[in-house]
Every structure is written in C-alpha cells, then in structure tokens.
C-alpha cells in the first residue's frame, strides 16, 4: 500500500510499504478515505520528538471497514467509521472511566496510545491506504447515515473537534462566561466553536496570523491580533480589567513571540495574566517532557518558567492533557448530523495522498491560507 513515511526532520515521502493487516482477533482493518495533517504532526515533522524514521504518520483518520477480526462483534464490513486519535483498550482503569487518552494497556510505560505518534506505541498512522485499528469494537465510531456527504465534517471528530471541545471542558466553560483562547490554529478555532456552542458570552481568540483570526471572527469570536504584543491589554479592556472567566491554551511548547522566536512559557503566562482570579485554564496544546533541540535551557528538560506566584495569588486552577476523544465523539457527531455545526469550514486544502509531502512543507511554514489539510488516499 502507499503511505506517508517519516524519514527524518523535514523529510517525508509517499512510499510503497507492506499492507496493514488484521494482526489480532480484536482488530478492524479500515480503507482510509480521509486523513488530516495535524499541527502535532508538525512537531514530529520538524524533528522535535523521538519519532523513529520509517514510521507512518497520521492520527486523524476516517474510512470504510474492509475486514474485521474474529473477536469483533459490533463493527461490520462496509461500516464507515471515524477513529479517535487515541487508541484505548476499553477495559483498563482509565478507559473504564472514559479517560481513553490515558489507556494503561496499549502502550506499556506511558499512559496513552495513538496512531503514528512519537512515544504513543508501535501503531502505524493512517496517512496511508489502509489502517489497522486495535480493539476495533471499542475504538471505531460508526458514523451516521449521511457520513459520505459530510465526510469532511466527520473526519474532524478524530481529533481537532473533540480536542477543542476538551479545552473548554478542562477550563469548565459555562453559559454566559467569557473565554480567552490562545491559538487560532485548527484546535484553537474548534475550541472557539465549542465555547460559542456552550453559550459563552465573549470568546476572545489570540494569534498573530491574520488569515486564522479572520476564521475566528466568522465563528462570532473576537479576534485579538497580538502582532504588536498588545493582546493582553485588549483582553483586560474587554473584561473590565478583571480578565476572562476561563482560558484555553491551544498552542503548545513551540509557541512563538511576535518575532517568530520560540518562547515556551509565553502562552501559559499570558493566560495567568488574562484569566480572572479563581478562573480556570484548560491546556490542550502539546508540551513535552524533554526537548533536546530547544534553544532554551529549561525547555531542554521539559520545563517552563511559569508565573506560579501570580497563579497562586489569583487562586486559579488548571486542567491539562490530551483529549479523551471517545468521551465526546458520539455526542459531537450528533451536532454534525443535525447540522448544528459544520467543522469542515476549517478545511483549506483537499489533496491526494501523493501530494502530502508538499502539504507538509506549506503547512509547516504556516503559508498564508493553509489552515487544515485533508488527504484523500
């Protein structure tokens, strides 16, 4: 089969590799029809993770079931399914509680498994013609009947829609509250969409990319262009000097200042400043336990200089970690089915798998107009 293979930093190619196949009786084999490039693929693309050369990338996958293992009951050949980027077993102490992003069995040594992701287990990614889905009955979301015509919407259930929603859950957003979101990338925009869905009174989205901020405005959010570094003053003004009720971090460890230099503590400390006393901050941007290629001494050992004193004085709290997609994807799929949301508005490019390498290049450079890429193997 054809697949997008990681060869090393800034080097990916579409190669012929052995077909994915059923390996255990609980597996499901999917013919991938849509697979997105994610911002977190770029951390790997840039060589900032322990990603091994030769691995297939891709954790935002949707497709048609073409084979099921002998122990699979629920999922049938022909079902159109969306796969959460997390791989869970369904029976460990964390999966039992809906915390399938922190499955204790699929990736020994670390809580949580995923497709084609550094440190998340041996599972191949779905930027390929075929994908092996472990514990298929648990992991497959069988899609509603209109899934073919809304495929570009449903594929967002694999990661960015639930992840954006998770940011608002971690932050505890309630109707009528104000929310500040750092990052207008796909996840930040999905967080803004989720905050609007939840009835937030003011949703402020901070970024420096004008094309992305325009998308935030289309959602009904207030775009805060931080290019001049005055984002914090704007937010304080909009919240009467108090700060927002809730904050969401949707950028991660490679956040940059206005000069495009990485300042890993920038968004976290800005949130401490722009969220009100006793407010809550949800962090879904990726932070990593060590970053040997970082410029910053602290970042090398996975630390940031965090304004803890200010955070404590303000009595704030924080929720962190990757989204447990299974906890939300069925509910969120109903919103798409009933035309309440249309997450495909974020898509800027739809390309065949063969063109994935150039897509990585453009997306990585944040070229104007490249917000979200769907590959069609």
């Amino acid at each position: 089969m054809k697949a997008l293979v990681y060869n090393g930093p800034h080097d990916v190619s579409v190669d012929n590799v052995p077909d994915a196949k059923i390996e255990r009786s609980t597996d499901v084999l999917v013919k991938v029809t849509s697979t997105n490039i994610c911002g977190s693929d770029l951390h790997m693309y840039e060589g900032r993770t322990g990603m091994e050369p030769g691995r297939i990338l891709g954790h935002e996958n949707l497709g048609v079931v073409i084979e099921v293992g002998a122990a699979v009951d629920r999922v049938k050949v022909g079902d159109r399914v969306c796969l959460p980027f997390n791989i869970g077993c369904g029976f460990c102490a964390n999966c039992e509680k809906g915390l399938s992003g922190f499955c204790l069995t699929v990736n020994p040594g670390t809580a949580g498994g995923a497709y084609g992701f550094a440190g998340m287990g041996p599972y191949s990614g779905g930027q390929a013609e075929l994908l092996r889905v472990p514990y298929g009955d648990f992991n497959c979301l069988v899609l509603p009947r209109d899934s073919q015509e809304k495929e570009n919407d449903y594929v967002m259930l694999s990661d960015i829609f639930p992840t954006g929603y998770h940011a608002t859950e971690l932050a505890g957003v309630q109707p009528g509250e104000s929310v500040v979101i750092y990052g207008a990338g796909p996840v930040g925009l999905m967080a803004a969409c989720s905050a609007v869905l939840k009835g937030a009174s003011q949703v402020m989205v901070v970024d420096t990319h004008k094309d992305r901020l325009q998308l935030a405005e289309k959602l009904g959010a207030i775009a805060i262009d931080n290019t001049e570094g005055d984002g914090i003053e704007r937010i304080m003004e909009l919240t009467g000097g108090q700060g927002a009720d809730r904050g969401c971090e949707c950028v991660g460890f490679q956040c940059c200042n206005m000069h495009r230099e990485e300042v890993p503590n920038l968004t976290m400390n800005s949130l401490v400043q722009t969220v009100k006393a006793t407010g809550r901050i949800g962090v879904v941007g990726v932070f990593i336990p060590e970053d040997p290629h970082a410029q910053d001494k602290l970042a090398k050992k996975g630390q940031i200089a965090f304004d803890f004193g200010q955070f404590w004085i303000k009595g704030q709290s924080i929720g962190t970690g990757q989204a447990n997609v299974k906890a939300y994807n069925r509910r969120l799929s109903r919103l798409i089915e009933h035309d309440k949301v249309k997450p495909s508005w974020i898509v800027s490019h739809e390309l065949p798998l063969e063109r994935a390498p150039e897509a990585y290049k453009s997306f990585d450079k944040r070229e104007k107009g490249w917000t979200k890429v769907i590959l069609k193997p």
């Binding site: 069995t105 020994p108 040594g109 040997p292």
Partner: protein, 164 residues
C-alpha cells in the same frame, strides 16, 4: 500490618525503573548545561549505573526467560540481551572514568541514548507481546519485587514489611 504490593504486573514494575532512570538522565543533561561540579555529576551517574545494573539483572534472571518461553520471538529476546551487554559495557566505561575526564559527559549521554532505544523497543514490542501472551505477569511481579529488594538492600532497606 501487611502492605500489599502495588504494582499491577511485572511490566509496570520494570517500567517504573525506566521512568525513574529517564528522569535521572534528563537531570544529568541539566547538570551539564549548568556546569555542575564533577562530584555532583559523578554521584548522579553512579545512581543511574546502579539502577540500570539492578534492572538488567532482574530482567535477565526472572523476566526474559519467562517471556521467551511464550512469545515465540527469540530474535527479539536475543536483541534485548545484546543491548544489555552493550549497556553494561558503557556502564563499565563510565565507572572506570573520572568525572573530570573530557569524555565523561558524552559517555553518560551515549548510555542515555542507548537506554532510550532499548526502552522504546521493550515497550513497543516485548512488553506488549508479553501482556498479550498467556503469561502470569501479575504473579511474576512478586518474585521480581523480592529480588529487587535483595539486590538494592544495601542502599535502600525496606521501611515496612510487605507481602512480597
């Protein structure tokens, strides 16, 4: 009062060592960045070497033979033993050096990279296969813990009586 054994299974027990040693390697990198004193670095490097030595012995004596019997992947097991041999060699080199030697930091870093690769392979291949095989990993945690206590007795005596 008896203290129950907390490890879910043998894999969790062994992986706890991996996690602890990983943190020590990151700390070692930070000491180098900060230009820490040689005896400071030496003490940490020795803790790393000691932890890995005990860990390798545990795996080789009690864990690998049981896993080899059931997973049907001799090449994987042989590779793991080769990697242990390589690591022991590097540990011996570190222990024979002075912390002021020019190559000291690089050798500790070399060990770290070696262990990173070995741990990744264990987690992604051997540990998964072991968990999916008909092997009493829960039961195996007990002799592993008992042996570990024995091997580390001199440095950390157990504080309470446990049902090991």
């Amino acid at each position: 009062m008896k203290q129950p054994v907390a490890y879910e299974d043998a894999v969790d027990l062994l992986d706890a060592d991996h996690i602890a040693v990983k943190k020590m390697f990151i700390d070692y990198g930070a000491l180098c960045e900060d230009g820490a004193a040689a005896d400071h670095k030496r003490a940490l490097a020795e803790r790393i070497c000691q932890a890995l030595t005990v860990h390798a012995q545990l795996e080789e004596e009690l864990f690998y033979p049981e896993v080899r019997k059931v997973i049907g992947a001799d090449d994987l097991m042989d590779e793991a033993l080769d990697e242990h041999a390589h690591a022991k060699n590097v540990i011996a080199r570190i222990r024979a050096m002075k912390a002021t030697d020019a190559a000291y930091d690089a050798t500790v870093t070399e060990l770290g990279a070696l262990i990173d690769r070995h741990v990744l392979e264990e987690r992604e291949q051997m540990f998964l296969k072991a968990r999916q095989a008909p092997l009493d990993l829960r039961g195996l945690a007990l002799p592993l813990l008992k042996r570990k206590r024995k091997l580390t007795q001199k440095t950390t005596p157990p504080t309470s009586k446990e049902t090991a």
